[in-house]
């Protein structure tokens, strides 16, 4: 076997191997266009090598011409693939120049098949025997085709194109790639032009293109291999960071989830199964996942998902999930939407956390607050006991006197039945009055959780005012209420709101005690606000809040009163905020304090 055959076969084999490797890469990852282009160019180089081997062994000028003609096909393919590879791989290169080169090469190819024997030679007279590497090979003798200049032109343009692209790529920070490709390709082009010239002059048996193209193929292969190595390193790093992430997630009891919007599937990573609430990893349908969610939370979860998808907001939701063992857990999930080319949501991806313990704490805290509120109600009731005793003794005294009188009337002759009837009516009335006082007191003292209902504020304030009526009279305070007609009802817990207003009115009364002369007044007014709120203002003309003495009036256990516990306003705020409302304190411009409370309007009424 000759050296020529061995060398050219090796070149073919190498090119095909590299082509196969990178074709495989492209088949796995369709976005790796550079690998595909490389593969094409390597196949072309392999074909050229085989054809060249045949060319050097050609027996007649006609055979030589025919082989050379067909060699232009892989050559053109190689140039086009190279142009596209440069653009795809370096991300640089002038587009018009690229099209010009491709156009020229296609033109050359077309001419090649119209001209005889080919675009390189006008005519091949004979074949010389040339001795090369100890082998006798055929070298052509003939006239050059003038159209060959087009090939030269395309090669010059290719040279410019590659150099220009390499310079641009350098600026893009791809220095090494630019250097390797920008040096090897022009070198190969110049070498090819030289060998081609030598072949045309009959000095070389063939253009030796196969060998030259190996330079380009090797340069491209080197580049792509470096990338392969790098991607391997990257994937190792990625695996490591994923492992770290997994550890961190496990430590923080986090779970990963991924919701495929198109396929409507939920994918849950095996870490923190409990954190995602599925208790098992893997895929599950969205419907199945939602069926695990507590019915009360399904609506809000759906809403959160829709909001994230439609308004491009971050996703966040807290919901309860019941696992297969029937254990209910609280889950907090946050995530982001990943969008496709047209902004179409592809997937919702995020983390989730088991917040059952936190929710339990919150519940406990709420219970403690309610207990404190209850304790405070009892203490407020203690302060009110005198007033309550008065309220209660009023009807009881009336009943007693009427009963005593009735007894005496019975002994009279004749018995005045009309008077007796009136007495009995009065007794019944007073009995009801006493029962009402007791009911109000019991309602206020009852210890229970929040229970929301639609509440007419005016009625509520009137009930509280009735409870405090005796106390207000004793302290010579007048109460004025101003409620606009058509004020919507608010969503609230009657007893707890009553407590808030008892607290506030007791505060007002204490503040008014200091007022020695002039009228002592409390004003309660309400207005409807924007955003489905009603604002209630409780004003007095007492001493007002002293900001120096009481920087934060809502701070617990801080009081300016000698007998106060300092939790009245704290509890009021807790209650108002549990209603989704707001409470704030200010001083009136003309003296005295004003407490403003915002409460949400009952939903159905807000819509109407």
């Amino acid at each position: 076997m000759s050296w020529i055959t061995v060398t050219w076969s090796m070149a073919t084999g190498m090119s095909l191997t590299l082509a196969a490797v990178h074709l495989l890469v492209w088949l796995r990852d369709r976005e790796a266009v550079a690998n595909l282009l490389f593969s094409v160019s390597a196949v072309a180089a392999a074909v050229i090598a085989i054809q060249e081997l045949a060319l050097m062994r050609a027996q007649t000028p006609a055979e030589f011409g025919a082989i050379l003609r067909w060699m232009h096909v892989p050559a053109a393919t190689l140039v086009v693939a190279l142009v596209l590879f440069i653009r795809s791989y370096l991300g640089a290169g002038r587009l018009w120049l690229a099209w010009l080169i491709i156009g020229l090469r296609v033109l050359v190819l077309i001419l090649n098949f119209f001209l005889s024997p080919n675009v390189t030679f006008e005519e091949i007279y004979a074949l010389n025997s040339v001795s090369f590497l100890g082998e006798t090979l055929s070298a052509p003798v003939g006239d050059m085709n003038p159209w060959r200049l087009l090939i030269h032109l395309s090669m010059v343009l290719l040279l410019i194109y590659v150099l220009d692209a390499a310079i641009a790529a350098r600026k893009l920070g791809k220095g090494r790639q630019a250097l390797v490709l920008g040096a090897s390709i022009p070198f190969a082009i110049i070498l090819a032009a030289t060998f081609s010239g030598l072949m045309v002059r009959g000095i070389l048996p063939g253009p030796f293109v196969a060998l030259i193209y190996q330079i380009i193929v090797l340069a491209m292969a080197f580049e792509l291999s470096v990338d392969l190595i790098r991607s391997k390193q990257l994937s190792c790093g990625l695996q490591e960071s994923e492992e770290r992430m997994r550890l961190a997630a496990r430590a923080a009891d986090l779970g990963f989830w991924d919701w495929d919007v198109m396929r409507k599937e939920v994918w849950v990573k095996d870490v923190g199964k409990e954190a995602t609430g599925t208790f098992e990893s893997g895929h599950t349908s969205l419907e199945h996942y939602l069926s695990l969610v507590h019915p009360d939370d399904r609506g809000s979860l759906r809403q959160a998902v829709d909001r994230a998808l439609e308004h491009n907001e971050d996703f966040h939701a807290e919901f309860r999930v019941t696992g297969p063992s029937g254990v209910e857990r609280w889950i907090a999930a946050s995530g982001q939407v990943e969008r496709g080319a047209q902004g179409k949501p592809l997937r919702l991806r995020g983390i989730s956390m088991d917040i059952t313990a936190r929710k339990q704490f919150e519940g406990e805290l709420q219970r403690h607050r309610l207990a404190l509120a209850h304790a405070q109600r009892v203490s407020a009731m203690g302060q009110l006991s005198a007033a309550l005793a008065h309220e209660l003794n009023q009807p009881l005294g009336a009943i007693l006197r009427n009963a005593e009188a009735g007894e005496l009337f019975l002994h009279q002759d004749p018995t005045d039945l009309g008077e007796l009837r009136e007495i009995l009516v009065d007794i019944q009335q007073d009995d009801r009055r006493a029962a009402e006082v007791i009911d109000r007191m019991r309602a206020l003292l009852r210890h229970r959780e929040l229970r929301f209902e639609a509440i007419a504020l005016q009625e509520l304030i009137e009930q509280v005012a009735a409870l405090l009526n005796a106390e207000m009279q004793a302290r010579q305070v007048t109460l004025r209420t101003m409620f606009p007609p058509g004020l919507p009802r608010v969503r609230g817990d009657r007893v707890h709101l009553q407590q808030v207003f008892v607290n506030l009115l007791l505060n007002c009364l204490d503040a008014l005690d200091a007022r020695q002369n002039g009228s002592r007044q409390i004003e309660i007014g309400a207005v409807q606000m924007e955003g489905g709120l009603v604002e209630l203002a409780v004003k007095d003309n007492g001493t007002g809040f002293d900001p120096d003495q009481l920087p934060d009036p809502f701070k617990p256990f801080v009081t300016t009163k000698s007998e106060g516990l300092g939790i009245g306003l704290t509890i009021s705020r807790t209650i108002v905020e549990a209603h989704g409302g707001r409470i704030r304190v200010e001083n009136n411009p003309d003296g005295g304090a004003c407490i403003r409370i915002e409460l949400p309007v009952e939903q159905e009424e807000g819509v109407a």
Partner: protein
């Protein structure tokens, strides 16, 4: 004047209790009159009215304590019995100190209420009689001339006519004439009676 019927004036803003206590007192034979506020009662109260006041302590506007004070300073200081829904010790002590006849809760036993009213009425009768007596004496003493007052003062000091004459720089006969006029105007028969009357009328000795 003592022929005037004794009345129980009930002042309370609680209409129901007002009716109840009015019925009880009426059926016990008392004459009553009801008022729903202190100011209403004060404007309608005549000087000749006799009896006592049964008042609530806590009322809008003028409260029971203020009513008592106003009444005490008036020309017709009727005794007051307080009835209250809830009585704390401080208010009770304060009311008694200011001269209230009694201080009771509204649910107090009937006998206690009736007894308090009885005491108040008796006190009114007693004080009124004393007041009238004092006024009558006062009018008698008002008829004395300045000279007669001087002589009366000397008599009360136990001086003899001769000493009085010397003290006042008049003769003894004039002193005797003044003394005769004195006993006539004051309708007394002896010096002892004269002195007792003068003390009762709160006559002050002129130096």
């Amino acid at each position: 004047m003592s022929e005037q019927v004794q009345k129980v004036f009930i002042v309370d803003d609680d209409a129901s209790f007002l009716r109840g206590v009015e019925r009880l007192l009426r059926s016990n034979g008392y004459v009553t009159e009801c008022f729903s506020s202190a100011s209403e009662f004060l404007t309608q109260l005549s000087l000749e009215a006799t009896g006592c006041v049964l008042a609530d302590l806590r009322m809008p506007g003028m409260d029971g304590m203020a009513l008592q004070q106003t009444l005490a300073r008036s020309a017709n200081p009727l005794p007051v019995v307080f009835l209250t829904g809830h009585g704390d010790i401080n208010t009770g002590v304060e009311a008694m100190r200011r001269g209230a006849e009694d201080f009771l809760v509204k649910t107090a036993p009937r006998d206690v209420v009736i007894a308090a009213i009885e005491r108040a009425l008796a006190r009114d009768f007693r004080e009124r009689r004393a007041r009238i007596h004092r006024l009558e004496l006062q009018s008698r003493f008002d008829r004395l001339t300045p000279r007669e007052r001087q002589v009366l003062s000397q008599v009360m000091l136990g001086r003899l006519n001769k000493q009085i004459a010397a003290e006042l720089g008049i003769d003894e006969r004039s002193v005797k004439r003044h003394r005769t006029n004195l006993t006539r105007k004051l309708a007394v028969k002896s010096v002892a009676e004269l002195v007792q009357l003068a003390i009762e009328a709160g006559f002050s000795i002129a130096k």
